[in-house]
Chain length 166, copies 2
Amino acid sequence: MSTLPSILTDTARELVKQSSKRKVTLASAESCTGGLVAAAITEIAGSSAVLERGFVTYSNAAKAESLGVPVALIAQHGAVSEEVACAMAEGALFNSHAQIAVSITGIAGPGGGSEHKPVGLVWFGLARRGETTRTERHVFSHLDRHGVREAAALEALRLLTEAVRA
Amino acid sequence: MSTLPSILTDTARELVKQSSKRKVTLASAESCTGGLVAAAITEIAGSSAVLERGFVTYSNAAKAESLGVPVALIAQHGAVSEEVACAMAEGALFNSHAQIAVSITGIAGPGGGSEHKPVGLVWFGLARRGETTRTERHVFSHLDRHGVREAAALEALRLLTEAVRA
């Protein structure tokens, strides 16, 4: 029995196991998933040794102030962009003691979509101290708001697991 | 269909509705719930106008650095205490633009309990600009880790709704 779907908690359990084994600590910077990634990780007993902290930066002010994402970058590219995903992940590292950070910024819907940035578009950032930050773009089409959020949270957990194992 | 239990999303829906109507913005500072409160609020469409930001301060360093909770306060009273709950809620206000902030710090288990601080003990803080911060203590006994977290998240959503309506 779990508060979150087993697909999320099972993935989080493996992530916590692998991170604990390697003594790697994590941070999350979430926009459209709004805390789901941190909630999934912390559902697992022993996660306190793994999740150093999480940022739920729903507003642009939060992205700028809590993560240090330049306001001009948001204005130029939009909050849902490769550039902002990259800056969010790096900001999460800079503003924490974690070794690896993931960021998620997307359009969960139902509103907010456009031709070039449809509902379901999500950008991810994966930052690791001393390495170049990676980004990934996914479009979770044909999913509603909770489906997009859940798929995005799952992808973020997978990205973290992959990074921890590397 | 929702990623989170309907008891949480139904409560969050009412909170977002009441907050939107009154143009009140919210912040969360979560320890043992690890992002569940923010995740429940952001599950609701339109919540971007309501949740200004959230802090998942799982480590003591996060409580100190992201929320400004004095390290000495944590050392003196422990992370799960009325004093730290109070400082977390006020820190969430101070480090955001929200009008109302809730904090949650507790022992979700299975480990970490003691005679005076059993598994299931959760302290809540409710801070509002210009008002005295309120605290509440609950012991969610006979619940496992996910049960404690879920009950604590629900209580935090209720505290926020009550504060928004007041």
